[in-house]
C-alpha cells in the first residue's frame, strides 16, 4: 500500500497505523518540541501526544490512533 509522506510516496504494509507507517518508512520524528528537539510516538496508545501529524490536511491528528489508508497524505513537522 502506498501513502504520501511529506510529498514523497512510501510503500507501507496494509493495516498499520500511521505511526507504524512512519517508522516503517524511516521517519524518526513526527514533530519538534518548542526547543527544536525531535519527537516521535512514545506510548503508541493515544496518551503522550508526541505523534501528532497532519493527515489529509487535518492538523494535530494522532498518528498512533489513525490507520494508514491507500493514498493518504501525511505531513510531519519534523
Amino acid at each position: 500500500m502506498k501513502i504520501i509522506i511529506n510529498g514523497i510516496e512510501a510503500e507501507v504494509p496494509a493495516g498499520v497505523t500511521v505511526a507504524a507507517a512512519l517508522a516503517h518508512a524511516g521517519h524518526g520524528a513526527t514533530r519538534r518540541s518548542l526547543s527544536g528537539q525531535p519527537r516521535q510516538a512514545f506510548c503508541g496508545m493515544g496518551v503522550c501526544q508526541e505523534c501528532r501529524v497532519r493527515i489529509d490536511g487535518q492538523p494535530e491528528r494522532l498518528a498512533c490512533m489513525s490507520l494508514a489508508v491507500e493514498g493518504m497524505l501525511v505531513e510531519t513537522l519534523a
Binding site: L34, Q49, R52, E60
Partner: protein, 372 residues
C-alpha cells in the same frame, strides 16, 4: 542531635518560600516532603501573579499580602537575570473581562481603586479590548487591564528556592509533631528549634477540626494555538463565583503559555478532595471558556488534570503561631492565591517566629482566630 534549626513540613511553593527566607536569616533548614517537590497544589496552579484589590470595601488583608508579595517577587527577579528565565516569568498582564454593563461598572470601580493607590490599571472599552485580544467573542462590554500582572511556572520556582536555601531534603511522611521535633512514618525522629507547617491541605491533620477545606479545581492545556492570546484573560464574574461557598462553579480564566499553548481554567468544587477528573465539570469549564474564545473548540486538548486548593474556613491563609502547639508555626490555607502570596507569607512567618517587627499587620492571618 539537631537535624536542622528549622524543620519545614511541605515542599510546595509556600514551604520553598519559607525555606528560602529562614536560610536568608542564616538558619539551617530541613524540608520534609512525602511526595514530589512542588507536586501538590503548586503543580496544579496556573502560576498567575496578580494584584488583588479590595475595592468592595471589605477586608484589605488579601490586598496587603499580595502587594507585599509582588514586591518580594520583583526583588527576587531583580537578583539575577537567570531567575526570570528559570521561572518562565512573563509579564503578560491580566485582562479582567466585563461581559455586560454591570461588570463594566465593576471594572470601572476596580480601575479607580487601583489607580488611586498608584497601581497601573486602565479601562478598555469594547473596541480597545477587541483590538488587544481579537480571539475574544464580539459583544463584550470591555475590560480592566492590569499590565503589571505576570505568569510563572511554579514547580520550577519552588525547586529553585529550595536549592537557593541549600535545604536538607528529607523524604518522608510526618505522623506526629511534638514541640520542635517531628516523627516520620518510617520511625525516624527529627529535631529542630522550630517546626514550620506548610503542607497545604495535609496540614489539617495537625490542626483543630475545620480550619482547612478542599476546593477541587481542574485545568486543561491545548496544543500551540495558531492565533495568539497575549494576556491572562479572566472574567470579572470569577470573583463573585470564587466566593460562592455551596455550589460548584466554573469561570473563564485562560493563560497564554510560552510557545502559544493555552492553559484553560477554572472550576471550583468545595469539599471535594478526590483526584480523578470530573468530566461533567470539565465540560462546563470548557464550554464556559469557548463562550469567551469561540475558536477554542478547534484546538486539541493535550492534557487535563485536577488539583486541590487548600482553602481556609474564612478565605484568609493561616500564617503565624500554631494555636495549640508550642514552637510550631503555620503557613497554609492559601487557596488559589498561594503562588502570588508565598513570599510575603514566608517573610511574615519569619518575622513573627524570629521576634522581628513584621512588615505587615499579622492579625488577619493569625491561626488563633479558629480557636474560639
Amino acid at each position: 542531635m539537631r537535624s536542622a534549626d528549622v524543620l519545614i513540613v511541605g515542599g510546595g511553593i509556600v514551604g520553598a518560600a519559607c525555606a528560602r527566607e529562614y536560610a536568608r536569616q542564616g538558619l539551617s533548614v530541613a524540608v520534609v516532603e512525602r511526595a514530589a517537590l512542588g507536586g501538590g497544589a503548586t503543580a496544579a496552579s496556573m502560576g498567575h501573579l496578580l494584584v488583588v484589590d479590595a475595592e468592595d470595601g471589605g477586608d484589605a488583608s488579601e490586598f496587603q499580602l499580595s502587594q507585599r508579595s509582588l514586591r518580594l517577587w520583583q526583588d527576587w527577579l531583580d537578583e539575577s537575570p537567570a531567575h526570570a528565565e528559570l521561572a518562565e516569568h512573563e509579564r503578560c498582564g491580566t485582562l479582567w473581562i466585563a461581559a455586560d454593563a454591570e461588570e463594566l461598572a465593576l471594572a470601572e470601580r476596580k480601575c479607580a481603586w487601583l489607580t488611586a493607590r498608584g497601581l497601573p490599571a486602565e479601562l478598555l472599552d469594547a473596541a480597545a479590548l477587541a483590538r488587544l485580544e481579537p480571539q475574544l467573542r464580539p459583544g463584550l462590554a470591555g475590560a480592566l487591564r492590569v499590565a503589571g500582572d505576570a505568569r510563572v511556572y511554579p514547580p520550577k520556582v519552588a525547586a529553585a528556592w529550595l536549592q537557593q536555601a541549600k535545604v536538607q531534603l528529607i523524604r518522608g511522611e510526618v505522623t506526629a509533631i511534638d514541640g520542635a521535633s517531628l516523627r516520620l512514618a518510617d520511625g525516624r525522629t527529627l529535631w529542630g528549634a522550630m517546626v514550620v507547617l506548610c503542607a497545604g491541605l495535609a496540614s489539617q491533620r495537625f490542626l483543630p477540626p475545620g480550619c482547612l477545606l478542599p476546593k477541587k479545581g481542574q485545568l486543561a492545556i491545548t496544543q500551540r494555538a495558531p492565533a495568539a492570546v497575549s494576556h491572562q484573560l479572566v472574567e470579572l464574574g470569577y470573583i463573585k463565583k470564587a466566593h460562592l461557598a455551596h455550589e460548584d462553579t466554573v469561570s473563564f480564566n485562560v493563560q497564554p503559555r510560552p510557545g502559544g499553548q493555552l492553559l484553560i481554567g477554572s472550576s471550583r468544587q468545595v469539599g471535594r478532595s478526590d483526584a480523578p477528573l470530573d468530566l461533567a465539570m470539565l465540560r462546563r469549564m470548557l464550554q464556559c471558556a469557548a463562550g469567551y474564545l469561540p475558536g477554542l473548540p478547534e484546538l486539541s486538548l493535550l492534557r487535563c488534570w485536577s488539583g486541590i486548593r487548600p482553602a481556609s474556613a474564612d478565605g484568609q491563609p493561616l500564617i503565624g503561631a500554631h494555636p495549640e502547639l508550642a514552637r510550631v508555626w503555620l503557613a497554609t490555607g492559601h487557596e488559589g492565591l498561594g503562588i502570588t502570596t508565598s513570599l510575603a507569607s514566608a517573610e511574615l512567618l519569619a518575622d513573627l517566629s524570629l521576634g522581628r517587627a513584621p512588615a505587615l499587620s499579622p492579625a488577619p492571618y493569625a491561626p488563633a482566630r479558629f480557636v474560639a
